[in-house]
C-alpha cells in the first residue's frame, strides 16, 4: 500500500446552519408519529383498544349507578384515562426496549443530536396520539352513548390539566419502566400486567367504591386512580362527588398525586435510562 500525500483536513464543507432546538424537536416528533402510524398493529392496538372496550362494555351494562349517572358514563371516563395510560405508559414501555435492542438508540447517541431531542420526539408522539385517541373516544361516546361534553370553561380546564398531568406522569413512568426490560420481547411482558392490574383496581371496569378497601388503598398509590377520579369530575354531575371515597372529587389531591408521579418518573428516567442494552455495556 502506497502512502500517498493527502490533504490534512477534509475539504471545507458548505456552510449549513445547525437546526434550532424547536425544529429538531418537531422533526423528531414527526418521525416518531410517522413510525407509529406505519406500524399498523400499534395503531390498531393503541387507538382501537379503548374504543372497542367502550363499545363492548357500554353495550352490555346500561344500569344507573347513581341518580342520573349511568355505568356507561362512569366507564367511559375510566376508558379515557386508560387510553391516556395506553398511549404513554404502555406504548413507550413496549417500544423503547425494542428500539434499544435493535440499536436505534445507540445509533442516535453516536450523532450530535442533543439527548433531550429524542425524548421530545417521544413526548410529541404521545401527546398527539393521546389527543387523537381522546377525541375518537369522545366522538364515539357522544354519538352512541349519550355522554355529555363538559359544559363549562372550568370543566374543560379541569379536563385539560388532568389529562396533561396524567399523560406526563405516565410518559415519564413508561420511559422509566422501559429500562426494566432486558430484551425487546420482554417490554410487553413487563408493562402489560402492570397496566392491566391498575385498570382493574383503579375503577375503570368496576365502580371504584365497590372495590375492597385494601384494593382502593393500593390503587390510590398509583396515577390511574387519580386520573379516573379527575376525569369523573369533568364528565359526571357535581353531585356524584359525594360518592367518591373522599366525599368529593378531591381535585387538589388529584393534582398533588399526579404531580408527585411526574417527579418520581422524572427522577427514575434521569437515573436509570439506558441507551444500550445490558449486554452491550
Amino acid at each position: 500500500m502506497t502512502t500517498t500525500t493527502k490533504p490534512a483536513t477534509p475539504v471545507a464543507a458548505p456552510s449549513t446552519r445547525r437546526l434550532g432546538p424547536a425544529s429538531l424537536a418537531l422533526r423528531q416528533g414527526r418521525l416518531e408519529i410517522r413510525q407509529f402510524l406505519r406500524s399498523r398493529e400499534s395503531v390498531v392496538f393503541t387507538l382501537g383498544f379503548p374504543i372497542i372496550m367502550v363499545l363492548i362494555f357500554a353495550s352490555i351494562f346500561s344500569d344507573e349507578i347513581a341518580p342520573g349517572v349511568s355505568y356507561t358514563q362512569y366507564f367511559i371516563t375510566g376508558m379515557i384515562a386508560t387510553g391516556l395510560l395506553t398511549v404513554s405508559f404502555q406504548n413507550l414501555g413496549i417500544w423503547i426496549p425494542i428500539e434499544r435492542d435493535r440499536g436505534v438508540l445507540k445509533r442516535y447517541r453516536g450523532t450530535p443530536m442533543p439527548k433531550w431531542v429524542w425524548f421530545a420526539g417521544k413526548v410529541i408522539m404521545v401527546l398527539v396520539t393521546g389527543m387523537v385517541m381522546t377525541a375518537l373516544l369522545l366522538a364515539v361516546s357522544v354519538t352512541l352513548f349519550d355522554l355529555n361534553l363538559p359544559a363549562t370553561g372550568t370543566a374543560w380546564l379541569t379536563f385539560g390539566w388532568v389529562s396533561a398531568l396524567g399523560i406526563t406522569a405516565c410518559t415519564l413512568c413508561g420511559i422509566a419502566i422501559s429500562s426494566l426490560a432486558r430484551t425487546a420481547r420482554s417490554g410487553s411482558a413487563v408493562v402489560t400486567p402492570v397496566a392491566l392490574v391498575l385498570q382493574f383496581i383503579s375503577g375503570v371496569f368496576f365502580v371504584f367504591t365497590n372495590l375492597p378497601t385494601w384494593m382502593q388503598q393500593v390503587a390510590a398509590l398509583f396515577p390511574l386512580k387519580w386520573m379516573c377520579q379527575g376525569l369523573r369530575a369533568v364528565f359526571l354531575p357535581e353531585s356524584f362527588g359525594a360518592q367518591e371515597p373522599g366525599g368529593s372529587f378531591e381535585l387538589a389531591r388529584v393534582a398533588l398525586v399526579l404531580g408527585a408521579w411526574c417527579v418520581i418518573g422524572l427522577v427514575l428516567c434521569l437515573t436509570t435510562f439506558r441507551w444500550t442494552t445490558r449486554r452491550d455495556g
Binding site: 500500500m1 490533504p7 464543507a13 456552510s15 418521525l31 410517522r34 440499536g103 445507540k106 447517541r109 444500550t276
Partner: protein
Amino acid sequence: MSDEVAIRVRGLRKAYGDNVAVAGVDLDVHRGEVFALLGPNGAGKTTTVEILEGYRRRDSGEVLVLGTDPELVFGSRQRNRQARPAPHVVADWRSRVGIVLQGTGEFDELTVAEVVHHFAGFYPAADDPDKVIARVGLTGKAGARTHTLSGGQKRRLDVALGIIGRPELLFLDEPTTGFDPEARREFWELIRDLSAAGTTIVLTTHYLDEAETLADRVGVIAGGRVIEVGTPDSLGNRREALATVTWRTPDGLPESAQSATPTALVTELAARFGGEVPGLTVTRPTLEDIYLRMIGHR
C-alpha cells in the same frame, strides 16, 4: 493537541468483571491515514473502538480522539465532575466523528431516504443526503422501507449514516461483513474516495485482504493488547521473510525450497533445466500467514 494525531491512546484498560477485555493498549492514528485494527474475535477490537467512539467508559489510561477525551460525552456521570462539558462541546465532537457500528440499528417502518435525510439534520455541515445515498449505491432503494433491505444493503445504509455528517474521523467496525465480493470492491472504492478527501479512517476487520488493500497501517490486537503496528507489507517482518520457491522435478514431483535469495535460486534452476523451470512459483508469506503466525504464537 498535535494536528498530526487524530487518535492517541496510552495504557488503555477495560475489564468486565474478571474478564480483562483491553489490557493496556497504546495506539496512535495520524490524521488522514487509514488504520486497520486486526484481531481475532474477543481480542478487544470492538471494546477499544467503542471506548474511542464514546460508547464505553474505560477503567484507566489516556485517550484523545481529535484532541478530546471521548469520556466527555458521559457528562454528569463523568469521573471528574469539574470537567463536565457544555452540551455544544459534546455535539461539536460528535459531529466530527462518524460511526459505523458493528450491529445495525434498524428503523423498520422508515424508508432509506427518510432515515438519511433525518440524520442529516443533526449535523451542522451535513452532506447532501441524496448524494450520500447514491454514493453508497442505494439510490434504487431510496424509497424502500429499511426492513426490506438485504444484509449488505443495510450495511450500506449504516455507512451512509456514518458519513452523512462529513466526519473528519470515521470509525468502521467490520463494515463489509455480509457483503458479496462485488459489493466489497465498491465499498473499498468508497473508502479510498473518503480517504483521498482527507477523512481519517479507523476500521476493524476480519478480512486480511481488506486491511492490505485499504490500510496505510495495520495494528494487530490480540488478548487485549496491540502486539504489532506497521504497514501491511512490513508487518511481522514480512519484507525480510524467506521466499518460498516451488517447481517440479524432471520426474514431475513437486519440490520447494525457502530462500533469502530467491532470484539466485531461480537462476540456478533455470540453468539446471536449461530454460523454463516447470511449475515455477515464488511466493512471500501473505499477510494472512503473518497474521496467523502472530496471533497463533500467543
